[in-house]
């Protein structure tokens, strides 16, 4: 499976073709993505906040599931690279009229596009599309079901690197709804690859998958214990829309046990950084004082998301060998 993913993601020359998951990538490659993101830092200082790298390219945001932050940062990243962007919101389009996924893809392909950024509720959707698109098209996974959200994981580790420099001595706690979270899965994979010392997952039994230890993490069901001495806390959103079973007694009770407050944060290292992929539910998984506090890097994560997405898109695009004329 890993080998198959690798040949799917990276061409024979090792260069990125599709970006579907961080699993199976090596440390040097994740660092290359972050270094490339660094090099785009000066673009936002320009009066014209654009570089002509992907001029003449068309990128399609194919979102089968709603998202504001991910879609807009992908769109902005593409525009800063001078690509043309088409936003296709499938919820309001042909699939609701019965068109199959492949038919949708074929039709958009026929419009001579160069890249798909895909968000889908089904795990494996981006892989499926990557396997079936025309060879010149790159696919970027912007979140598939419970499986992966690789650009989110990359922007998170990029934010950590900006503050901590190195991963070796880092203790990271991922707190909340691990069960439904593709973000958690991708983050664990990325942190493992980068050599974080300890990765903890913290949450109620109902929201932590039974086999999670196999990913090399330690499980805590008590927030205070889970936070003890950690350098980074990643809070996850309580995914209300996926709470169809009796996962938690009530939001109020969830907050009482797993909500991140200033008081609870005292268990962590003094220079702990607090992260959240957004959107945040204030008073459900995190207190406003923490979300807006000095240890929070939540808004930096958003800015870093643009740089990471610029890096991934420009790296994936160039394998095509066309366009990009300044």
């Amino acid at each position: 499976m890993t080998a198959e993913k690798d040949t799917l993601q990276r061409g024979p020359d090792g260069k990125l073709r599709h970006f579907l998951t961080v699993e199976g990538l090596d440390r040097a490659f994740l660092e290359l993505i972050m270094d490339t993101a660094d090099s785009f830092a000066s673009v936002t200082e320009q009066t014209v906040k654009k570089v002509p790298l992907l001029r003449g390219k068309t990128i399609v945001n194919l979102f089968f599931e709603t998202s504001t932050r991910t879609r807009t940062t992908f769109e902005l990243a593409a525009k800063r690279l001078s690509a043309d962007v088409l936003n296709v919101n499938i919820e309001t389009s042909a699939t609701t009229k019965g068109e199959s996924l492949l038919d949708t893809i074929r039709n958009i392909e026929a419009m001579h596009v160069d890249m798909f950024v895909v968000r889908h509720a089904q795990s494996g959707a981006a892989h499926f599309i990557a396997r079936h698109v025309a060879p010149h098209i790159s696919v970027i996974n912007a979140g598939d079901g419970r499986h992966a959200h690789p650009t989110q994981a990359m922007l998170d580790v990029y934010t950590i690197r900006k503050h901590k420099g190195d991963f070796h001595r880092l203790k990271v706690a991922i707190v909340g709804d691990i069960l439904h979270s593709r973000v958690a899965r991708s983050e664990i994979a990325a942190l493992k690859i980068l050599g974080a010392e300890e990765i903890r997952v913290v949450g109620p039994r109902t929201l932590i998958p039974a086999d999670i230890q196999s990913l090399g993490v330690t499980v805590f069901h008590d927030l205070a214990e889970g936070l003890r001495g950690v350098d980074v806390v990643i809070m996850l959103r309580l995914q209300r829309e996926r709470m169809t079973g009796a996962f938690i007694p009530s939001e109020h009770e969830y907050y009482a046990s797993f909500g991140l407050t200033e008081g609870r944060l005292e268990q962590a290292a003094p220079d702990v950084m607090v992260m959240h992929p957004g959107p945040i539910n204030r008073g459900v998984e995190i207190d406003s004082k923490v979300a807006d506090g000095e240890r929070s890097v939540i808004l930096q994560q958003v800015s870093h998301g643009i740089a990471i997405r610029m890096a991934v898109m420009s790296m994936a695009m160039h394998h095509q060998g066309a366009g990009g004329v300044a």
Binding site: S42, Q46, T47, V51, P52, G321
Partner: protein, 167 residues
């Protein structure tokens, strides 16, 4: 065998040429920008010698190159450092070797994405034959005629030296 000129001699000539150009065109408080990496090394020396007040600007033109599709992303792109406003200011743009002119075109495009300078003067350490677009330096330290496969490259940053090779 072609004699490779000494960097120090070229620098002196270039410095003098830039002084004359600044005077002739009455450029007030010019900014200086070096193109990564060789141009930035030369610019560092000139920035000192010409006593430019503002910090030296450095451009990495990788994102503006016209051969991105052929050679792809450079593995290590430096961040451009432009800690000043270029609007309405004269700019001394510095590179090491002027060859096809494509690097300068990319640099000009990038500079104009930062703002609208009042003038741009191009100074290069060495001009060689092989122009491919209608751009040429205003000031140069020297000139060299090379055959088609010959390349000349500035080595540095410690003890700058020109080095020849054949491709």
């Amino acid at each position: 065998m072609i004699d490779v000129p000494k960097v120090e001699d070229l620098l002196e000539t270039l410095e003098e040429a830039l002084r004359l150009e600044i005077e002739r065109r009455a450029l007030e408080n010019p900014l200086m920008i070096g193109i990564h990496s060789g141009g930035a090394w030369i610019a560092e020396a000139l920035h000192r010698r010409l006593e430019i007040k503002e910090p030296l600007g450095k451009l990495d033109i990788s994102f503006y190159r016209d051969d991105f599709s052929r050679i792809g992303m450079h593995p290590k792109v430096q961040t451009s450092q432009m800690s000043f406003k270029v609007d309405g200011r004269p700019i001394l743009l510095i590179d090491d070797v002027f060859y096809t002119g494509r690097t300068v075109r990319a640099a000009l495009n990038e500079i104009f994405d930062y703002g609208r300078p009042s003038a741009v003067v191009l100074g290069v350490l060495l001009e060689r034959n092989g122009r491919e677009i209608p751009l040429r330096p205003d000031c140069r330290g020297g000139a060299l005629t090379l055959s088609k496969g010959q390349r000349i490259k500035l080595m540095g940053p410690n003890s700058l030296k020109l080095s020849m090779h054949t491709v």
